[in-house]
């Protein structure tokens, strides 16, 4: 079993939601990102989404845009992110690592060379925000041959028949974008999320992670009642940028542990298992 599936299986058995923090690699520095990951693992992160900075992050709100700009100002490239992943992998042999970013830095390396390098670095999954199923067929097959999960986004606008298409290509988990908008937007509607996640489960057998717009213990709990995993990005980056760089790891870890505690002290319902029972 690969590391992503193992993490979901372990938490499902424990009746707990999977917690997936996102952090932009190289913000405020590559070394700091490494420390931030360690700190978040100690705080109870189950999977790490490692953001690959891109000059034109069209799907991201201002917080993650700023993180990418800082990382790029540090000269951080996809190759650097792969090196960082390899280094993190040495310290955390069973931690699932997912790269998340945009298509062009991968194109620049070449899809085949990227797949090989990602496998060598110990990357478990890849999310390419602007590479939807229509365009991703060959790349998906290539990543699978290298044992890397291909994680696709599902949006509030995704019609049911399209979920079937996504189900054919997706492995690891699917990432439900909880709202129409960019990362870190403020108009999360948990009732709407419940409806959509239920619809996704009718078409996709994989676990469902939900992200975009989760910003505190209450919204994390509300989402976890319906989803297998809670993904949090902008709010963590706000912690990272909200003080001295040398304390960024401590702040990110401290904040994430409040979310972990909230998820683990929820009333004992097992929404994912219950939803899957039908």
């Amino acid at each position: 079993m690969n590391r992503i599936d193992a993490a979901f299986a372990r938490q499902r058995a424990a009746g707990r939601a999977v917690l997936i923090p996102y952090v932009t690699a190289g913000d405020p520095s590559l070394a700091a990102t490494s420390d931030i990951i360690d700190s978040m693992v100690r705080a109870g992160a189950d999977v790490i989404e490692l953001g690959v900075p891109f000059s034109d992050p069209m799907a991201d709100g201002p917080v993650i845009q700023r993180a990418a700009e800082r990382a790029l100002a540090n000269g951080v490239s996809l190759r650097d992110v792969l090196a960082l992943a390899a280094e993190v992998r040495l310290r955390h042999p069973s931690l699932p690592l997912v790269l998340m970013g945009y298509a062009n830095p991968i194109e620049a390396i070449g899809e085949a060379a990227f797949a090989e390098a990602a496998q060598r670095a110990g990357v478990d999954g890849v999310i390419v925000v602007d590479d939807p199923p229509e365009e991703a067929g060959d790349f998906t097959a290539l990543l699978r041959r290298h044992g890397i999960a291909t994680i696709f986004l599902v949006a509030p606008t995704t019609p049911p028949e399209r979920m079937e298409t996504i189900a054919k290509l997706a492995t690891g988990y699917v990432y439900y974008v909880s709202l129409k908008g960019v990362t870190g937007a403020g108009h999360l509607d948990t009732g709407d999320v419940a409806t959509h996640v239920a619809e996704i489960r009718r078409h996709v057998a994989l676990p469902v992670g939900v992200g975009f717009g989760i910003r505190d213990a209450a919204s994390a709990q509300a989402i976890a009642r319906h989803a297998d995993a809670v993904v949090i990005g902008s709010r963590i980056i706000a912690e990272i940028e909200g003080g001295e760089a040398r304390d960024a790891a401590a702040r990110a870890g401290a904040w994430l542990s409040t979310i972990r505690r909230a998820l683990d002290t929820m009333p004992a319902v097992e929404p994912a298992a219950a939803a899957r029972a039908h």
Binding site: F54, S55, D56, P57, M58, A59, G61, P62, Q65, E69, L72, S77, L78, R79, Y102, A103, N104, P105, I106, E107, A108, I109, V129, D130, D131, P132, E134, E135, F152, L153, V154, A155, P156, T157, T158, P159, R162, V177, K180, G181, V182, A185
Partner: protein
Amino acid sequence: MPPRGPREELPIDLPEVSPVREMPDERGHFGPYGGVFVAETLIAALDALKARYLACRDDPAFIAEFERELTHYVGRPSPVYHAERWSRELGGAQIYLKREDLNHTGAHKINNCIGQALVARSMGKRRVIAETGAGQHGVAAATVAARFGMECIVYMGSEDVRRQAQNVYRMGLLGATVVPVESGSKTLKDALNEAMRDWVTNVDTTFYIIGTVAGPHPYPMMVRDFQSVIGRECLTQMPELAGRQPDMVIACVGGGSNAMGIFHPYLAHPGVELVGVEAAGEGLATGHHAASLCAGRPGILHGNRTYLLQDANGQIIETHSISAGLDYPGVGPEHAWLKDSGRARYVAVTDDDALAAFHACCRIEGIIPALESAHALAWAARIAPTLARDRILLVNLSGRGDKDMATVAERSAARH
């Protein structure tokens, strides 16, 4: 009138047999270029747009209304003008100008905006958004929004807001809201990013009027179709005026909509050479330019695969051109395909050469061209003397230069 050339017998309405003319494929690909590289949230909106646009394209009532607007609101057909004095002075080929500068709002951009506003209205969208660099597309979008009673938001890099104050004011007069974009390089590409972010957020109510033949499918096809009125008119006008079709069609290329508009109807005329002129800025060797076809390599940005100016790591780099409308690191995917297939040729002209052509056109022909169009004029002025007097060059004079007064004055002051 110059002597008739060997290609006068070409019929005007060739059947669409060339594979190039059947592009793109169903999913928006021009060979390896184009496509739909956007986040999942926008896919459904693009599917709906494609379905509606294809229906409009085949709807005689839609076409009739589009043509009516072009005639009575835009002022089409725009004339073709024989620049006789300039041609004589250059001593070679005859230069003809397609006068898109005479359109309402002063550039070709309005053709596309009328078309997209009609599609938006047929989809029941009352809010339109647009990105703009120099402000020409923003002004055209604000104009049609006023004309059709729609709310209009224009995203513009804060650097461009500063450089193009007059167009910002014009958009305000027309009732549009201009939103300065502070992210990234604060120019056109960042305005496009921000417009995409608005669209993803307001996708149910909003129609995104993209200003050029780039972006995700169906935009490159749809914008090309709306702009093709330029080339179709030329197909009729050139035989009337010059006795035959031109030997070469020349147009400037930023995103490439005016070039695609005049090139496309000529694709089926293999004897007509097509030349796109990019902005070489301070020179291709300096790195300060915006010539993505001449000096870039393929990549993915803003919804499509195309030639991009990017660093070795796939990060988009900042561009430079004296002309804000050409100051963009990508180019429409159909141009990428035309380049690779050899059907069109792409060259680049520096800021200095464009300025020289700008001044020549003002003084010799009494026409103040946009700095964008001056790039196409510069190429024509360069090659005309090398060609026989019976050769015909058709240049798309895509816009007028009123908006560029401050830029030209600043530049001239710096020189003297």
